[in-house]
């Protein structure tokens, strides 16, 4: 797959204060390449620089340094915007418009005629799960979740090649989240690229092929999600679950041989060990003490643990 988003040394400083202006670096030398046809997760805590990056890519703000290209075109090129979609965080729309009017308005900005825009609007509002009775309601009467659905629908009005989504699950109930997850997965199946930022790590874990993690404006981790989790899992070792003996007896027996905390659980206890040798040592002690092995599982680090590790 070709690289369709190419970010080189993107940096953004904001100025604060009236007289004595103080510079605050929101994004620091971000370089990133994203290949097409995937769901790319953009992670980071509050103030990490995710929304700043998306705003830079949409040319809503301008970089202090660096550059970026989308589909081979500079980010300031309006013609490139013909092929992309954008759903901002907590989308804000003209609240005097009705949902279908907003969709037609945006469709016409893409050069669609009224009839085509209306047809596309109906398809997309159905697809994001907005009930037909709500299409003719003014947006000022919409809940946060309904606005989020309209935000997603409008980002697809031009059948874009790349869709940028800033916290697309924000404000949605569990059913809405599932629907949006399915929608994003469908977009990948259709060959589109989704570049999404999210705080909801389970969604990122369930959907994304590759991720980038930002911390305080800097890129701290980047790569294939499965590989990132696997590489850190090697360090995490194994969880050995044991039953049939008292934890205190076992603790005394392995003292000085294996360094591990013992977690007491219903029906026994478990301990985390670093490697296969330690697993064998635990098994040997168990045999000697007459204990029972319940299970040995490799510890799979979750995205949450990876994220927390990068944040601290």
């Amino acid at each position: 797959m070709d690289t369709i988003i190419e970010i080189k040394g993107l940096t953004k400083d904001y100025e604060k204060g009236f007289w004595k202006k103080k510079k605050i670096r929101a994004l620091d030398d971000l370089s990133l390449q994203v290949e097409g046809g995937q769901i790319f997760g953009f992670l980071g805590g509050n103030g990490a620089g995710k929304t700043t990056t998306l705003k830079l890519l949409m040319s809503l703000i301008f970089p202090t340094e660096g550059s970026a290209k989308i589909l081979g075109a500079e980010i300031g090129d309006p013609a490139m915007h013909q092929k992309i979609g954008y759903c901002p965080e907590s989308p804000y729309f003209y609240d005097y418009l009705k949902a279908d009017e907003l969709m037609v308005y945006f469709g016409r900005l893409f050069g669609m005629d009224k009839g085509s825009a209306e047809k596309r609007s109906a398809e997309l509002l159905t697809r994001v799960g907005l009930e037909k009775k709500d299409w003719k309601r003014q947006l000022r009467k919409f809940s946060k979740g309904m606005l989020q659905r309209v935000g997603l629908a409008q980002s697809l009005i031009n059948d874009p090649e790349i869709v940028f989504m800033d916290e697309p699950m924000s404000g949605l109930d569990p059913i809405g989240r599932r629907q949006v997850r399915e929608l994003i997965a469908e977009l990948r199946e259709e060959g589109k690229t989704v570049f999404m930022s999210s705080h909801i790590l389970t969604d990122i874990e369930a959907l994304c092929d590759n991720v980038a993690i930002l911390r305080k404006g800097r890129l701290v981790e980047e790569g294939n999600l499965a590989e990132l989790l696997r590489s850190t899992a090697q360090d995490s070792g194994f969880e050995v679950s044991v039953g049939g003996i008292e934890s205190s007896v076992f603790k005394e027996a392995i003292k000085g041989k294996i360094a591990s905390e013992i977690n007491v659980k219903p029906g026994g206890f478990s301990l985390n060990v670093a490697n296969e040798q330690d697993v064998e040592a635990v098994l040997a002690s168990l045999n000697k003490l007459g204990g029972r092995l319940i299970g040995v599982n490799p510890v799979r680090q979750s995205l949450e643990e990876l994220f927390v590790r990068e944040e601290t």
Binding site: K55, L60, H81, P91, L97, L109
Partner: protein, 259 residues
């Protein structure tokens, strides 16, 4: 073609926004009430009904138009930034200059409809009191009022692109007031002893819009009609000034960060 399409779509949406804004309707209703008052006052000033209606009606038309131009105009861009509605607009293939021109023309269309409705109200009031010829002849002055409102709107949009709505409204109103005393500024400049003061007031005279080109209400009250060349020159002046102001607005707005 694409740029024109963007401008047209944005302008029609701006017009729709204004139409759905209840304040605008209230102003139209209020203007009709003013016309009613003029009729009442006309009865008090025997034989002067028509002239009074023209004076009050057209002055009120200008005043209400100015309020709409200022208060809607200063919010045209700043409100969109504040409410973040621009985020989705600029993610579409829309240039910032197209957005400014579209918003400006949308408000001008609103003012045109507003002025036309008010003008009709005044004309009907004149027909009601027997001022049949005036009901037609005032339309030259009404056209000039619209030119003036279009120019004020451009100034309001310019301030709106870089300043807060309150400050923009204040500055636009100041320019409206100063622009009506433009010739006094020129006279003041000529009679001042100091070269620096002459230069300063002279510069203000040439830089700020001169609204005296559009003042025709008192003439209209006496049944006079602006000549074709007068209207053409006023139109040319307004168009040139608006073009410069909107171009400067677009330039400022082109590099503005939308935080």
């Amino acid at each position: 073609m694409t740029a024109l399409n963007h401008v047209r779509v944005i302008a029609s949406n701006t017009f729709r926004e204004a139409v759905r804004d209840r304040v605008l309707y209230n102003l139209v209703v209020f203007m009709l009430l003013i016309t009613g008052c003029a009729i009442f006052l006309g009865e008090l000033t025997a034989g002067q009904e028509s002239r009074t209606i023209v004076n009050i009606g057209l002055s009120a038309m200008l005043l209400f138009g100015v309020f709409i131009a200022i208060f809607v105009g200063v919010g045209l861009v700043s409100k969109e930034i504040e409410k973040k509605t621009l985020y989705t607009v600029f993610s579409k293939p829309v240039r910032r200059g197209e957005f400014i021109v579209g918003k400006y023309l949308g408000l001008c269309l609103t003012l045109l409809v507003n002025v036309a409705v008010m003008g009709l109200g005044v004309s009907i009031a004149l027909l009601f009191v027997g001022g049949g010829s005036l009901s037609i002849s005032i339309w030259g002055a009404i056209v000039l009022i619209f030119f003036e409102l279009a120019l004020i709107t451009a100034v309001a949009v310019l301030f709106s692109s870089f300043s807060s709505p309150a400050l923009s409204a204040l500055l636009t109103f100041l320019i409206f007031v100063i622009g009506h005393f433009s010739s006094s500024l020129r006279d003041l400049a000529q009679n001042l002893g100091s070269n620096a003061a002459q230069w300063l007031f002279g510069a203000i005279y040439y830089l700020l819009p001169n609204f005296s080109h559009f003042e025709f209400v008192s003439h209209a009250a006496h049944g006079r009609v602006p000549s074709g060349s007068y209207l053409a020159l006023a139109l040319l002046y307004a168009l040139a000034y608006i073009a410069v102001v909107i171009a400067v607005t677009a330039l400022i707005f082109r590099r503005r960060n939308l935080k």
